[in-house]
Amino acid sequence: MSERAVRAARRVDVAAAGVLTPLQRAGLFLSRVWAWAFLGLMALFFVAAVPLSTGGAVNFLTVRNSQNILVAIVPVLLLGLGQTFVIIAAGIDLSVGWVMSLASVLSALAIRDSYDAGLPLFPAVVLGLLAAVAGAAFVGFVNGVVIAKLKVPAFIVTLGTSFIVRGVAYLMSENTTVIGLPAGVRAYGNDALVYLVGGPGGGIYFLARPELSGAMLRRMDILLPWPVIMTAAVVAWAMFLLHRTRFGRHTFAIGGNMDAAIRAGIPVDRHIVALYMLSAATSGVAGFLSTLRYTAGSAVIGDPLLLSSIAAVIIGGVSMSGGSGAIVGTVIGALIIAVLTTGLVMLNVDAFWQFIVVGTVVIVAVLIDQSRDLIMGRPKGGVRR
């Protein structure tokens, strides 16, 4: 072998040995943290720009605005959580929007009818949650079985079920908003852990909404509404499930190399069914919470959120080809969309601009994701042989 060939072989060996140059390390680091940085810079921009453009009349950095943003991300985030699992396993669930709608209608009907039949309020609300999650999970079960057992592409299956679920949701709601829920439901969807009242005579109130009126009421800030707390609990559970358990590990394995997962004895079919049930179930919780928030069930509530939720997942760095991603990324993705939307509205920018900006961010996110392969010097698709 010529000396040059030996040297080339040695160089390949070193480059291949998992040792990265400082430049590669820096590039990788940036590609991982850009979403955090983008969120931070964007928030800083709005904090500075909103008061400037409104002559100090409107502020971005307020307790009320922070809570508005948290409330706004609840449905997008819940749809995105289950979707994160599905996409990491190299699938896609296009039915989550209409599943959320169906769950909203189901929970409204369950709460109204059980309460009318004499059930106390709290059990009726719990029944509403069960109806929403069970109805949604059933759709997820059908999705999963057709995808895993009948080998129909996930895109097609979930597209089909989303139409079916849409029809069912409209039929069940009789093409109108489900109203007539007990008035007490409103508290579950809008009351909070903490109430802050600023100014003279103000204070901090826990759990119970203080009886206020007039100027005092206008000074009251609501901290951590129940839907936000419940969503936070689901986020914590999803993080645990994806990153700390065998279920999560198998999800990554299936997305990384389905064949290897099968040959390692992972029950892949059963796992895929569970993933689509999970995706539907978190969407079911979203539908339930929207019913509590509006004291009504609606068949049109979920559909517009589908694409936003997938955008949140992609901005959060989950690879559409499967095998990589994190729950915290989806949370950041949802936050970026919500901060962007809220900020632009406060800047009095035409609301339609948010779509243009979100769309750009989605594409940039994928470009950054792909640049990682470039940095590592491996061909597209990530698998070097």
Binding site: M1, A9, R10, V12, D13, A16, A17, G18, V19, L20, F240, R244, T245, R246, G248, R249, H250, F252, A253, G255, G256, N257, D259, A260, A261, R263, A264, G265, I266, G323, S324, M376, R378, G382, V383, R384, R385
Partner: protein, 253 residues
């Protein structure tokens, strides 16, 4: 000499009208590296797939560790201790070394009095490191996704996985294909290490230097039949080539 760990008698596999494997018999003993040689289409892979539970032979007997062993599936073969490393390695490139060695058999810890179980990554990392150390495999990092590793290193991960789960027989299908020269050397070194640990290896290859580098015995197949079985030390490359191309045939004599 010890009893054979694997004993094959009169194994025949037919696809339609084609006799892919024709009444092949041979033994593999503990601590022995047996080369299975032959040109493309000689029936090496089909023979091996009968052993590892992928194919069911039409005729013949396979005994593994003294027991009849006609496995219904690759999982059954693996459970019995036959690990087959195919060229695609069956690794999840997005996971780290420990996760791959424990893929499908993850170690878990009970928490909150057994109410929930979490992955025991520390344990899996420690066990992986020990296994790799015992095989004298060194990686700069065990916690990076293995797509950052080279082909030879991933080959080593697949071997380490088989070793950790107590493979009693290792079958390797062309393991040095698609590897650079230094990497080929490492893989061959690893096969020697396996033999020193008393793990028998069947090495499927058509590369004669590889066969001479590590095997104790070679079996040559041609058109589905075993045409030669030689101690590696008592044969030459020239002779083996003649068997591989069908110019010589011990079985016909």
């Amino acid at each position: 000499m010890s009893d054979p760990i694997l004993s094959i008698r009169g194994l025949t596999k037919i696809f339609g009208g084609l006799v892919a494997v024709d009444a092949v018999s041979f033994d593999v003993r503990r601590g022995e590296v047996v080369g299975l040689l032959g040109d493309n289409g000689a029936g090496k892979s089909t023979l091996i797939k009968c052993v590892s539970g992928v194919h069911r032979p039409e005729e013949g007997e396979i005994r593994f560790d003294g027991e009849p062993a006609l496995f219904a599936s690759p999982m059954d073969a693996r459970r019995a201790g036959i690990e087959t490393i195919y060229q695609d390695l069956a690794l999840a490139n997005n996971l780290d070394v420990g996760a791959n060695i424990f893929l499908g058999r993850e170690a878990r810890r009970r928490r909150l009095g057994g109410l929930i179980q979490t992955l025991d990554d520390k344990f899996m990392l420690r066990e992986s490191r020990e296994t790799l150390d015992s095989l004298q495999i060194r990686f700069p990092s065990l916690t990076q996704p293995i797509q950052t590793l080279s082909g030879g290193q991933r080959q080593a991960v697949a071997i380490a996985r088989a070793v950790y789960w107590d493979a009693k027989l290792m079958i390797m299908d062309e393991p040095t294909n698609n590897l650079g020269v230094p990497e080929q050397m490492k893989v061959l070194e690893l096969i020697r290490t396996l033999r020193d640990r008393n793990v028998p290896v069947i090495l499927i290859t058509h590369i004669l230097p590889d066969a001479f580098a590590v095997t104790d015995r070679v079996i040559v197949m041609h058109r589905g039949r075993k045409v030669a079985e030689k101690a590696t030390a008592s044969t030459t490359a020239e002779e083996l080539v003649q068997y591989m191309v069908g110019a010589r045939d011990d079985a016909a004599a």
